[in-house]
Every structure is written in structure tokens, then in C-alpha cells.
């Protein structure tokens, strides 16, 4: 019984480790080898002094040949460096160590995305199910139009609108910025709720459409007719039998969307002044701060790979047929 699942997990895990190794190699090539000119100059920021350049060379081991450079790079990543784990060095422009900032910012972004994802699922699933069960009803049509509006609303505009309404006009919510949950749970929620809504609305609309169409397909399946023929309540037929089959494909979608958002919440973070990964990537690019750009790139790709692993595991758990492929 457990054998197929165990074998599947092992295979999937080995594959993930391989992909992460390849990611480190590709990022190394892109950041160290491919661009012409002195790598030290690129890492050193906008105002490189001879001292900084010397430090960059020493930190990154640039005096060695490329193979050794890669191994050193890999070693720093895996084992960490003097600035923390993973070993991503130090921003020569701002003078700040990368790793601690990375963790701090990742925490903010993860809260933003997870909260947003919970919200968009909490809206998208019931709306999608209702639209499918009552396809072409008034509810279905209203939700379709509302969804189209949500999908075509620019994120920055929505964010600013919400801020204007709930902060400046109504004064119901405090302004922008991030307050840690441990400082004040209530204040934390008050600061996060608008970013969550801003992030979630587009996805809620998309997920409602996807779940609606999955659900309509599923409701036409033979096994749903069987469920009804068994005399189950309509609630159970829809809420358990049909919903279960309709949600399984959404797992993969969710993993992809969360993965994409890890580095892609730039606008929401900027509008709401949240110091997350998205705003960091922007700062890194504007300041030509290569260590920052490299760090976010690696984190995003690794997280996407891990999310796809998690999605596959959840999928295999929910759909037993996958384990045998």
C-alpha cells in the first residue's frame, strides 16, 4: 500500500534536489560567467572603490578559476557564510548583509501571499461552485461580470483606491507599512487586510472561473450520477463528490501562482510600503545591487521548485492514480 507512495516521494525528492543544483549552476553562469568585464565591478555597486573591489574579489574567490569559483559559490549557498545562511554575501552598495534581510523580507512576502491565497480561495471556491451548480442563473451572470471587472482592474489602481477609501476617507484602517504579528496582532491584521484584498481580487476572479468550469465538467461525470443514484444528499454530492474532483487540479495552479507571486508582488508591496521580496528586487535593480538581485533570483527559483514538489505530494495524496504513473 505505502510502497507506491514512498517510491513516488523519493523519486520526486531526488528530482527536486537535482533541479535546485541546476538552478544554482544556471544562476552562477548568468551572474558570474556570461556578462563580459570584471565580475567584481558588477557586484561592487555604483561607486566601486579599490578597497571594495578587493573585498569583492576575496569574498567571491574571483582569483580562482571558474570551476573553483562555482564550487565556492555552491559551498557558501549550502553551508552559509559569515553573513548568515544561505551564504549570499553582503550588499556592497548598502553595506547590509543579505541573508538576514532576505529572511525578514521573505517573511513579509509570505504573509502577504498566504493571506491573499486564503482570501482568494475563500471567495473563489464558493463562487465557482455556486456558479456551476446554478450555471447561467442570475448569480452566475453577476459573478461573471464582477469577475471580469476584478480581472481588468490594475493592481496599483485598486490598491490606491482601497487606501484612499478606507484610510484617508473613512479612516477605518491605519495607513501603510508593516507591523509584526508579535508586536500587535490586531495592528498586524489592520495593516495586512488591504494588501490581501488587493492581491486576492484578481486571483479570486480567476479561480472562480476555473473552479466553475472544473465543476461543470465534474457534475456531468458518471460518478456524480452514481452518487445521486445512491441517494446521497445533494449537499454531499456537490460538496464532497464533485468538489473533491474539481479542486484537485487547482492544487497545481495554486502552486504556480504562489510561486510566481514570490518575486512578483512588487506593485502591492510598493503601494502598501511593505518591505518584502518584491520591493527588494525593484530596489536591487534600481541600485544596480547585484548581490540583492542574485539573492532574490535564487530564492524565487528554489521556492518555485519546492512549491512544485509540495503540489505534487499533495496531488498524489489526493489523487491515488498519480502514485502509479
Amino acid at each position: 500500500m505505502n510502497h507506491p507512495m514512498g517510491r513516488y516521494l523519493l523519486k520526486r525528492l531526488a528530482w527536486t534536489i537535482l533541479v535546485i543544483l541546476i538552478v544554482t549552476f544556471v544562476t552562477f553562469v548568468i551572474f558570474y560567467v556570461l556578462p563580459s568585464g570584471d565580475p567584481a565591478l558588477r557586484f561592487a555597486g555604483k561607486q566601486p572603490t579599490p578597497q571594495i573591489l578587493a573585498q569583492v574579489r576575496a569574498d567571491l574567490g574571483l582569483d580562482h578559476n571558474v570551476v573553483v569559483q562555482y564550487l565556492l559559490y555552491l559551498k557558501r549557498l549550502v553551508l552559509g557564510d559569515t553573513y548568515g545562511w544561505p551564504g549570499l554575501g553582503y550588499s556592497y552598495s548598502s553595506g547590509a548583509a543579505i541573508a538576514p534581510q532576505l529572511w525578514q523580507r521573505a517573511l513579509v512576502t509570505i504573509q502577504l501571499i498566504l493571506g491573499g491565497a486564503i482570501l482568494w480561495l475563500a471567495i473563489g471556491i464558493p463562487v465557482g461552485v455556486m456558479s456551476a451548480v446554478k450555471a447561467r442563473s442570475r448569480f452566475d451572470r453577476i459573478s461573471l461580470v464582477t469577475g471580469l471587472v476584478c480581472m481588468s482592474t490594475p493592481v496599483f489602481w485598486l490598491g490606491l483606491l482601497l487606501l484612499w477609501l478606507f484610510w484617508s476617507t473613512l479612516g477605518w484602517l491605519p495607513g501603510t507599512g508593516y507591523v509584526a504579528f508579535t508586536t500587535s496582532p490586531l495592528n498586524w491584521a489592520a495593516h495586512m487586510v488591504l494588501p490581501w484584498i488587493t492581491l486576492a481580487l484578481l486571483f479570486a476572479a480567476i479561480y472562480a472561473r476555473v473552479i466553475r468550469s472544473n465543476m461543470i465538467d465534474t457534475l456531468g461525470a458518471d460518478y456524480i450520477r452514481t452518487a445521486r443514484a445512491k441517494g446521497l444528499t445533494e449537499r454531499r454530492v456537490i460538496g464532497v463528490h464533485a468538489l473533491r474532483a474539481s479542486l484537485v487540479p487547482v492544487i497545481t495552479l495554486l502552486a504556480i501562482d504562489i510561486g510566481t507571486l514570490i518575486g512578483g508582488t512588487v506593485i502591492t508591496e510598493t503601494v502598501f510600503n511593505l518591505q518584502g521580496l518584491g520591493s527588494w528586487i525593484l530596489q536591487g535593480a534600481l541600485n544596480q545591487d547585484l548581490p540583492v538581485t542574485l539573492a532574490v533570483t535564487i530564492v524565487v527559483t528554489v521556492v518555485v521548485t519546492l512549491l512544485s514538489l509540495i503540489a505534487d505530494i499533495v496531488y498524489a495524496y489526493l489523487d491515488p492514480r498519480v502514485r502509479y504513473k
Partner: protein, 338 residues
């Protein structure tokens, strides 16, 4: 006379579609007695499934207009509210569907799929429901039912899955089983086993069985009475011996002579030429007339009504009995084999 287990009286089912009104079932009446099998035969699209889905209120709500009566032990099921109908489905009437590959939920263990019937209808505890599911699996001849109950549908063969579906249909010991083409998707050896199982359940538990099939051959060994449908209407209805030894309707005769039998051999296969009419705007006369070899002038203008040939045997045909085609029984056997 005692009330029959199931009596269908004047059932008509119409669907409104963008192309027009589909008259899927027209004035169908029949009876199923306890401990007997009613075979329902007709080409694909003749309204067999719709008839029994209507009986269980399983047609898509709003799409179908249903007239007539479905009497289960004398009680009209069509007047039951949808929520009350749930108490009948799965508990008093078990349903077996055509394709065992798609009729089971792919993401649920087969034992759970049976147990949830027991939990819903009998309010049994989880453990008790599971025990009954395992017992049901055992009673339909599944070896190692304990292990099988924990497996998923894709781990079972087609024949096994159909047994699981039969176990689902009988777990609450219903009075009636409706099997809609239960063996169409299975190969012949498995088909024989499944038919034998259904027949055995009928005998052992004294339940009524409706066995729907597009082929007379399938039901020949198990049916006690047979209803032959064409384009939503009953064309012939009688006991199995009436239908198989003395078929009177040209359509039934045609169906019988298209069955390959061992003594007739393939050389005698006479498929009925043509295909069934569209159920939208049926022709004015007999629906079968365009394909009928015995057709007379009247057939294209007048609609035949069911007429008794013997007390147990009715058919709907305007052609005088003497002018209808010879029955396969009267074909001299073996002439083509030399």
C-alpha cells in the same frame, strides 16, 4: 391481485432542446414483479435509460417534462419531493450503470463509496458501515473483500468494478435493482459472470430486476418478461418465451435474426437496415415503418397501438399477423452451414 413491485403507467418524457421537443419516451407502461427480471431491449437512443432515470428522478432537473406514474408498491414516486426521493434511491431501488470505469468516484476508496450509502440511509456508525460494505463486497463474489475495500477503483479490473457497483446497489437490500446495460462495457466472459450474479441475487433475495440492454442476446438467459422499445415507444411486450419463441413485431423479429447463434452461424446474420428516426418530429405513422420489411401502406399514416396477441403478449403493428416476416424459429436450421 396483489400490487406489483414496480408498475410504470403511461410514462412520457419530453426534453425541450434548441432544435425542438425530443420525445424520448412515449406512453410506456410495464410491470416488474418480485423475484422476476424485466428485460428492456432496444437500439441505442430508444429511450431505455431515460425511462428509468425518470423513474428515479435522476434526469437533469428542469430539462425534462415527465408524465405518467411510477408506482413502487403502489406508491407514485413521481409525486415525491426531490428530498424524499433520496430515501428511495440506493435504499429501496439500487441502480447499476453501464460503464464501471467511470461510474465509481476515482478519488475514493471503493469500501468508502459503499459505506457512505449505509451511513446516509441507515445512519450507521463508520465501523458498522464499513463492515456492511465488506460484507456486500463478499456477497458479490469479490475475493479478499477486506483488502479490496481499501483500494481505489483504478486498482480493480472492469469486472471487479462492476461487482463493486452491484455491491453498492444491493448493500441496503433493495426491493428492486435497475441495471442499465451493466455488461455493455465488459468482455463476454465477464458479461456472463455479471449476468449470472444479478440473476443469483434475484433468486436468492427475491428482488425485482430491470435489465436494460441494446441486445436481446444479453437478456435471453435471464429475463422473465421482455419489453422491446423503438424510438421511445413499446413495440412488443410479453413473457420471455413469447418474445424469443414467438416474436410478432417485425422489429423484434429483426433484432432476433441479427443475433449470432452457434447453430445459425454468422452467415445468417441479418442486421436491420437503416437507423432509428430522430425523436424530434417523429413520422406520423409507425416509427419503424421506414425500416420495416413487412410495411403496408397504412403504416406510414396511422400510428399502431398496443394490441393483445395472447393474454401475456402485446405488440404494436398494423400489418396482419399472417403477412409479417417469418420468424427466425421457422428458418430451417443449419442450411447455410454446408
Amino acid at each position: 391481485m396483489s400490487t406489483p413491485l414496480l408498475e410504470i403507467r403511461g410514462l412520457s418524457v419530453r426534453f425541450r432542446t434548441p432544435d425542438g421537443v425530443v420525445c424520448a419516451v412515449d406512453q410506456l407502461s410495464c410491470v416488474v414483479e418480485r423475484g422476476q427480471t424485466l428485460g428492456v431491449v432496444g437500439e441505442s437512443g430508444s429511450g431505455k435509460s431515460v425511462t428509468f432515470l425518470a423513474a428515479l428522478q435522476l434526469l437533469p432537473p428542469g430539462a425534462a417534462e415527465i408524465e405518467g406514474q411510477i408506482l413502487l408498491n403502489g406508491e407514485n414516486l413521481l409525486t415525491r419531493a426531490p428530498a424524499q426521493m433520496q430515501a428511495v434511491r440506493g435504499a429501496r431501488i439500487g441502480m447499476i450503470f453501464q460503464d464501471p470505469m467511470s461510474a465509481l468516484h476515482p478519488l475514493m476508496r471503493v469500501g468508502d463509496q459503499i459505506a457512505e450509502i449505509v451511513r446516509t440511509h441507515a445512519g450507521a456508525s463508520r465501523a458498522k458501515a464499513h463492515a456492511r460494505a465488506v460484507a456486500a463486497l463478499r456477497s458479490v463474489g469479490i475475493p479478499n473483500p477486506d483488502t479490496r475495500a481499501r483500494q481505489y477503483p483504478h486498482e480493480l479490473s472492469g469486472g471487479m468494478r462492476q461487482r463493486v457497483i452491484i455491491a453498492m446497489a444491493i448493500v441496503l437490500e433493495p426491493e428492486l435493482i435497475i441495471a442499465d446495460e451493466p455488461t455493455t462495457a465488459l468482455d463476454t466472459t465477464v458479461e456472463a459472470q455479471i449476468l449470472e450474479l444479478i440473476d443469483e441475487l434475484k433468486v436468492r433475495r427475491g428482488i425485482g430486476v430491470v435489465l436494460v440492454s441494446h441486445s436481446l442476446a444479453t437478456i435471453s438467459s435471464v429475463a422473465d418478461t421482455v419489453i422491446v422499445m423503438y424510438a421511445g415507444r413499446v413495440v412488443e411486450y410479453g413473457t420471455a418465451s413469447d418474445i424469443f419463441s414467438d416474436p410478432t413485431h417485425p422489429y423484434t423479429q429483426g433484432l432476433l435474426s441479427s443475433i449470432p447463434t452457434i447453430d445459425h452461424g454468422r452467415g445468417h446474420l441479418v442486421p436491420i437496415p437503416g437507423s432509428p428516426p430522430s425523436l424530434i418530429d417523429l413520422p406520423a405513422g409507425c416509427s419503424f415503418a421506414p425500416r420495416c420489411v413487412a410495411r403496408i401502406e397504412m403504416c406510414t399514416t396511422e400510428r399502431p397501438t398496443l394490441t393483445a396477441r395472447t393474454p401475456t403478449h402485446v405488440d404494436a403493428c398494423l400489418v396482419p399477423p399472417s403477412a409479417r416476416r417469418i420468424t427466425p424459429a421457422s428458418v430451417p436450421a443449419g442450411t447455410g452451414d454446408q
